[in-house]
Symmetry: C2
Subunit: 197 residues, 2 copies
DNA sequence: CAGAAATACAAGTAAAAGCTCGTATTTGTC
DNA sequence: GACAAATACGAGCTTTTACTTGTATTTCTG
């Protein structure tokens, strides 16, 4: 019943990337719920009809964006993982992780906006969950590399909690004065170090 | 220029409360962004026109709800505060605080839904901020009562962070199995105790 | 009781937003 | 070069939704 798959040409793939770029930029400004498909099409320099040639609905754009994010971040996490060993002091690890998160947050605000897939009942929740789980798994892998005898279950729980803390503090960090922001970052690091000790 | 204030009669105040009740129930189900004013009016058993007699727009309903919440919770916090003294062990304090938060979250899901009005660019942010600040102040007051020599600035920061932690973990707690939920609650308490020590 | 203000209603408006349609052009394959 | 598939377009359809309007009823105040 469903239309059969389309054989994308190089032009089409490029076009899809442009759409995702545009969506990313719109989401960074107004968030996914307030993002309109016409707006995305306009910013990508195409008509709504063209956009719907590549994504059957608004949600598919969201899915595409999330997939692209997880793919893109894969190499970053691999590098992070490689740099971890049991000898690395916890403070350094936490410091690097938090600093990198802050940097990434200002570089890719749309990513974070999606990560906060709001409270109730929208389709964002699933997307948010996917991003969250991906990160938590990566953090857990880092923890296990530092403490090889840590059970996997335990590492995953700890990683989940650590990510939750970063997620929780991040919005405050990026919406306040530089001084207070630094204060919050320091406090977040302190919190994480105490927790992970 | 603006229409002058309306002298509400008892009937009207009751009607406003009914509207807020209906809004609360709708928000608990679909969240504020997907809440429609017609839906609220219907659930409150009145016409849209009647609703707009009391709230000039959708956002005023949100504001009304937030105000009512902060008012209602005032007595709760007063009681909490009265029960705190320097002798209370930290574990007990944290345990009570977390347990009460979990209980309140299932009792008033709409409250939490609003508390997460983060992400980007919607009017929810302001409402969320108001709720957050209110709680953080109350927690800070509790901390200062336990440690009278704690500077106010410091208490506020610590309260903010503690609240952030609870907020971060809460969505996970209420969307999983009872066993994992208990696990998460325990971990959250552990986290808080370590942080606040 | 009389007038004014508040409350009540439901049909309806205007704008927004997701998405379609008919058609025209470009690209890949034989 | 020829045919099909993919790409491109933008006007416009459909639905939804916040909000209005005109009018009728109830409550308060003198």
């Amino acid at each position: 019943m469903a239309e059969r798959t389309v054989r994308r040409q190089a032009r089409g793939l490029k076009r899809m990337a442009e759409i995702l770029d545009a969506a990313e930029s719109v989401i960074a400004e107004v968030g996914y719920p307030d993002m309109t498909t016409n707006q995305v099409a306009a910013r990508a320099g195409m008509s709504p009809g063209s956009l719907y040639q590549f994504f059957r609905n608004k949600e598919e754009i969201l899915d595409g964006l999330v997939s692209r994010y997880t793919d893109e971040r894969q190499e970053f996490w691999a590098a992070q993982l490689a740099a971890v060993s049991p000898e690395v002091p916890l403070e350094a690890l936490v410091g690097q992780f938090v600093d990198e998160s802050v940097r990434f947050k200002s570089a890719s605000p749309a990513y974070w906006s999606l990560l906060y897939g709001t409270a109730t009942g929208d389709q964002l929740v699933a997307a948010s969950q996917r991003l969250h789980d991906d990160i938590a798994r990566q953090v857990a892998a880092m923890l296990r590399r530092r403490s090889p005898d840590l059970p996997e279950e335990r590492a995953l729980l700890t990683g989940t909690m650590a990510l939750a803390m970063v997620k929780a503090v991040m919005p405050m960090i990026t919406t306040t004065t530089p001084e207070r922001s630094a204060e919050l970052v320091a406090e977040l690091k302190l919190m994480l170090v105490r927790y992970l000790s």
